[in-house]
Amino acid sequence: MYWEPDKECMDREELEQLQLERLQSTLNRVYAHVPFYRKKFDALGISPEEIGSLSDLPRLPFTTKEDVKGNYPYGLFAVPLREVVRIHASSGTTETSSVVGYTRNDITMWSKLVARILVAGGVTKDDVVQVSFRYGLFTGGFGLHYGAERLGASVIPASSGNTARQIQIMKDFKTTALVSTPSYAMLVADTIREMGIPVSALSLKYGLFGGEPWSEKMRDEIQNALGIVATDNYGLSEVIGPGVSGECFERNGLHINEDHFLVEIIDPKTYQPVPPGQTGELVITTLTKEAFPMVRYRTRDLTRLQAGDCPCGRTGRRMSRLAGRTDEMLIIRGMKVSPAKIESLLFEIEGQEPNYRIVIDRKGAMDEVTVLVEANGEPQFGEERRHVGRTVETIRKRLTHELGVTVDVKLVEKKALEPIDGKAKRVIDNRKL
């Protein structure tokens, strides 16, 4: 099943022609309408007229989150505000958030892209879709909502929070597709178990999750606990919101909507393209956006482009599920520590998806790292407690050894690490640097 088969299954040559046409017209527009881009292009001595091929892309300057913030709120808009029908902003306090706008055409286009992703994840017009993303400035709620509506599904704008009530709705309204962050899906699964509701009492068939990285193991758990097919989808406010890419039923990489987004994978240190198939930072250029076009936006998300065709028939290249973020490297006592690495180590040791939080404090001149790990069961006593103590010691030794930094590990009670704003908060850095 496809939403726009002629676009989703377009042959490569035809696609590249379309991409070049759209890239050139986007560059002509941003150069004419956005002073930020004109100055940047002029400073590099490059004119949009020199871009004659997709391989000329690296000659253009990058755009970073700092650029977006530096042009707060409307500096990067390419149309007058009266043509903007919607404004969103990425998370962060008001002064530090990225403000993005959409024209009427942008909203239509965005809805279609989200509809593609929903269809790839199994949703049809006959489904009841519960959108448990936060509604508001965040693009997740409204993005998925409009896409599901476009598709003709019955949309429940449940927003996030009040999990027990959400489950009640899920049961009574016969929700067939859950749209949320993967950590919220985990919370739903846990809560259902606690409330003693059998999965058979629900009508769920599909789960479409995005907004944060999640592992295969987590997918298995969600799929088993809720009896659904869980697919991953990706997007970010600065580029459009959800709708950049999404998995099909193969669940082997996210098909990029390449007729609307041009992607590059670069080495975040040298800014050079990585060899094909290698992991690097995802850089996105929008090809059709009117209000808020983006030229070579550095997403800071790490991924790679997968080779080969997908059995589903979509020709959009697949990006692998996120391998972390370039800016999430923690510098602890001068050592680079990746939270993703900690997660995979915890997973190896515990044999299941860990719920954890990394807390960093500075005592005097020393950084201290504590990894809080959520316990699986009830608090233990006696002999079992000693066993838990040994596990904690195993984790501590293993992390310290692998990371090269002394790490303290503490076990915390179940549910002590609730998601913040619907997203799992993995790192808390208390250092005043």
Binding site: Q17, N28, A32, G52, N105, T108, T288
Partner: protein
């Protein structure tokens, strides 16, 4: 059908087209809209070989035609209905139509010309009625029909029309545009250049907006019609003056 990449051309030292990239798939009606002097006519003249492309590639049916003379391009199946019709006024309607069949004779398919003429008369009954009349005595709308009829005699795969609505009354424009949609129904592919953006987008599948020799927008006709910049600049609508709804 037609794929253009980074085409640049112009007159003398004047560069009119700057890295124009566009395409048309078989069976589509694609329109190019733009103000006077944006380069619309230059683009059609470049594709038909009347002015040379200085750089870039023009692929017609996967064959590079950028360096070919106009007659070769017509032979390959790409015909132009030029701006201002360019008829032979002192010749009859029928003679004008038959001139368009020149490539058919060259291809030794002269025996088909009679059938083609019948088909064209079927499409434009008015021209049959006036086949002995001098082209110069026809009305504007009839002259435009004649120009289209002449181009069709070469059995083009792609027919390019330069401002077919120019100087015509609204009712006649409607006739001409319904002929264009009919041509598409019969399997033709049409590239339509128009200043009358509203009429053109009304029948087109997709469109490009050309501004000072550069393409600044591409999209489905629907998308372009709902773009406010297009509305303001090319559709003569000022939404701010119209109020909110």
């Amino acid at each position: 059908m037609l794929r253009i990449k980074n085409v640049e051309s112009g007159y003398g030292r004047l560069k009119v087209l700057k890295k124009v990239t566009m395409h048309i798939r078989a069976g589509e009606i694609v329109t190019i809209i733009g103000a006077n002097g944006a380069g619309k006519t230059s683009l059609l003249k470049t594709v038909s070989g009347l002015i040379p492309a200085r750089s870039g590639e023009i692929l017609f049916d996967m064959k590079e035609i950028g360096k070919l003379p106009p007659e070769k391009i017509v032979f390959l199946g790409c015909s132009l209905v030029p701006e201002g019709r360019q008829l032979f006024a002192p010749m009859t309607v029928k003679e004008n139509i038959l001139l368009g069949a020149y490539p058919q004779y060259r291809k030794k398919r002269g025996d088909q010309v009679g059938d083609d003429l019948e088909r064209i008369y079927g499409l434009f009954p008015r021209l049959r009625e006036r086949e002995r009349q001098l082209a110069g005595t026809l009305s504007g709308g009839e002259q435009q029909m004649l120009a289209i009829a002449r181009a069709l005699m070469a059995r083009p795969k792609l027919i390019m029309m330069d401002e077919p609505s120019m100087g015509l009354a609204p009712l006649v424009i409607k006739d001409i545009f319904s002929i264009v949609t009919r041509l598409r129904r019969e399997g033709n592919t049409v590239l339509l250049v128009e200043q009358n953006a509203k009429a053109a987008l009304g029948i087109a599948d997709r469109g490009y907006v050309l501004e000072t020799g550069k393409i600044i927008m591409e999209g489905t006709a629907e998308e372009l019609l709902s773009n406010r910049e297009v509305q303001r600049a090319y559709l003569g609508r000022d939404l701010d003056a119209e109020g909110t709804m």
